[in-house]
């Protein structure tokens, strides 16, 4: 495709250039011809004047003709030799050179080109007509020689410009080669392939820059996809490993009923964890495909927090975490169950990642057209590097959190989806060692 593009460009370029050279050479040749013919005419005019001078009408109505010297030798005249003819008033031939071709009498003064000869006729004394003529063979051969030289020069120029054009087109198209190489490597699976960009401002380099940017985004998207798959696989394989190992242990020999009980309890915990991960993955998958519809009703945030706290209270007691609330009235339009999920997720995070005996505070207040919900904890906090990614799926700032929570790092991703589905915003702030604060802003029903 590339070579054909190059060939096609060159073909068109050559055709146009050949046309231009042909027109130019033709015009110059024509001008050259015209100027030579003008010279010939000049000579003819001089000859005619000399003849007219030598032509004396006599009383009898005849003429005396004194020929200029060049007409006197009749033989061995060169082809460029001027010939002449004289007609009287009645149009009868008076005299002519001894040439072997017919000269049709002109009706009046004229300049003409006939059978490759240039002829000039003028009126002389006594209404006689004097014609001088000359063969143009030498002029023709001069012009042909000139045209031949011009054509040779043109062909040479065309050849030179073809070579130059081939080189220039190649250079101009080189980025396309690099682009197609990089694109081929990219589609071949090498996600790090980029187009080498020269710092010129030409259009193809702009294309290359745009493509590189597109490749970057594609790379990032594929990385995220790959990480998501790897994380999902990790979160499911870990409990599956426990389950299968436990079952294998239980079946490997006869066990006591106490051992069987323990075996089944472990299996149930592993199955529960898998169920939680699968449920959350399904929630997100349905959210992604927009198959999850939200109820739309007026919901008070304070009762939602009450419901959520009732769910997380046992977890808080287990970690000796105290929960403080400061709930003003704020009503939003939305899905009460989903909003309860949201607050439950935020609160259980705040409890799980808290220190033993820490505090969690939950506040709700109206702020202009928005209803605000803030959950703060006194946990270890999140490193600044990790903050932008806390809402990513499966992202956990510290793997230490994975062991017991069973949340698989999906809680905040789901929280973010719920907030955005309600037209709100969610943000996370954290000071390492002091705690984390999640602030949710939802459009308020006034």
């Amino acid at each position: 495709m590339l070579s054909s593009l190059r060939a096609r460009l060159l073909l068109w370029y050559t055709l146009i250039l050949a046309g231009v050279i042909a027109i130019f050479a033709g015009t110059v040749s024509y001008l050259f011809w015209s100027s030579l013919v003008a010279d010939v005419d000049e000579g003819l005019r001089a000859s005619a004047a000399a003849l007219v001078e030598g032509l004396q009408p006599t009383a009898s109505g005849d003429f005396d003709l004194v020929l200029p010297p060049e007409y006197r030798q009749v033989d061995a005249a060169p082809p460029s030799q001027t010939y002449y003819a004289v007609w009287n008033r009645e149009g009868e031939l008076v005299d002519r050179s001894g040439v072997d071709f017919a000269i049709p009498p002109p009706r009046g003064p004229l300049t003409r080109t006939r059978d490759g000869r240039r002829e000039l006729a003028v009126r002389a004394a006594g209404d006689a007509i004097v014609l001088v003529g000359r063969d143009l063979a030498d002029v023709r051969s001069d012009v042909l020689a000139f045209a031949g030289t011009a054509a040779a020069g043109g062909v040479l120029a065309l050849a030179l410009s073809l070579v130059g054009g081939w080189f220039l087109v190649g250079r101009a198209l080189a980025p396309i080669g690099r682009i197609s190489q990089a694109a081929a490597a990219m589609s071949g699976g090498d996600l790090t392939a980029r187009i080498a960009v020269e710092r010129t401002e030409n259009e193809l380099e702009q294309v290359a820059l745009a493509l590189n940017a597109a490749f970057d985004r594609l790379h990032l998207a594929l990385d995220n996809e790959r990480r998501f798959t790897a994380d999902a696989s990790h979160e499911l394989r870990t409990p599956l490993a426990t389950l299968s190992a436990e079952i294998e242990w239980g079946l490997s020999r006869e066990r006591s009923s106490e051992e069987y009980r323990r075996c089944l309890e472990t299996a149930r915990r592993a199955a529960d964890r898998m169920r939680r991960v699968v449920e959350r993955l399904l929630t997100l998958a349905r959210a992604d495909s927009a198959a999850l519809s939200l109820q739309r009703a007026a919901v008070g945030l304070a009762p939602v927090v009450g419901d959520a706290l009732a769910i997380v209270r046992p977890l808080a007691d287990q970690k000796h975490v105290t929960i403080e609330t400061h709930l003003d009235a704020a009503t939003v339009v939305g899905d009460r169950d989903r909003l309860t999920d949201l607050v439950t997720n935020l609160c259980s995070n705040a409890i799980q990642y808290n220190r033993n005996g820490g505090q969690v505070s939950v506040e709700v207040w109206p702020d202009g057209t928005e209803a605000c919900l803030r959950v703060r904890d006194t946990g270890t906090g999140i490193a600044p590097d990790d903050l932008p990614r806390v809402f990513d799926r499966f992202y956990r700032a510290d793997r230490a959190r994975s062991a017991d929570s069973g949340g698989a790092g999906l809680g905040l991703a789901i929280a973010k989806w719920i907030v955005e589905a309600h037209g709100g915003r969610i943000a996370c702030q954290s000071t390492a060692g002091q705690g984390t604060e999640v602030l949710v802003r939802l459009p308020r029903l006034v």
Binding site: R226, A230, S233, H234, E235, R237, T238, P239, L240, A241, T242, L243, S244, A245, E246, E248, W249, S252, T266, R269, A270, D398, R399, A400, R401, S402, A403
Partner: protein
Amino acid sequence: MRLLVVEDERDLAETLRRTLEEEAFAVDLADDGEEGLFKIRELPYDAVILDLMLPRLDGWSVLQAARAGGVRTPVLLLTARDAIEERVRGLNLGADDYLVKPFALAELVARVRAMIRRAYGNPATRVQIGEITIDTAARQAWRAGAPVELTAREFAILELLTRSRGSVVARSAIHEHIYNEQADILSNVVDVHIAALRRKLGPDVIRTRRGEGYIIDA
């Protein structure tokens, strides 16, 4: 043979401990990377089973730090991710083997045994000492072709001495290799096991080097 299992998933760690103890290993557990690294450095394990995704310090870091500190204990990696790069990275950092979760317990045990055999420099499972034949895979010993009934601890001591054949193994080393960290056993239990072994295998197989320990001659 004493093993360390570094795994943050407590149920799985517990299952592994029970399984491996039934296979006559002494097993210690570590919940996170830091504890795991500390134990790997301080205690004479015959092999380590190391999960890659660990709190505080991930498996790769544990492995790298241990190998940098000169620890030569064989390490088997457990990973729940199937990305090839992760396993390659682990192996390149000095791991000896790996298993992807979920795995079969039987395979884990076989791989750990194979790793230990290689580490002691003899990949064969069957060893001949005079008229005694020991099969470390089948956990069985024979005297002049007749099967000998050995307890798990007795077999573990015999296996340890056989692997270290030709060199003296200190009584404390034997103790460390056949009991886990929870064991609080009187120091003469090793002598009791040795006496039982001599009774079953004949008096000349295991010799005492007074003040040093025990040896099976090369």
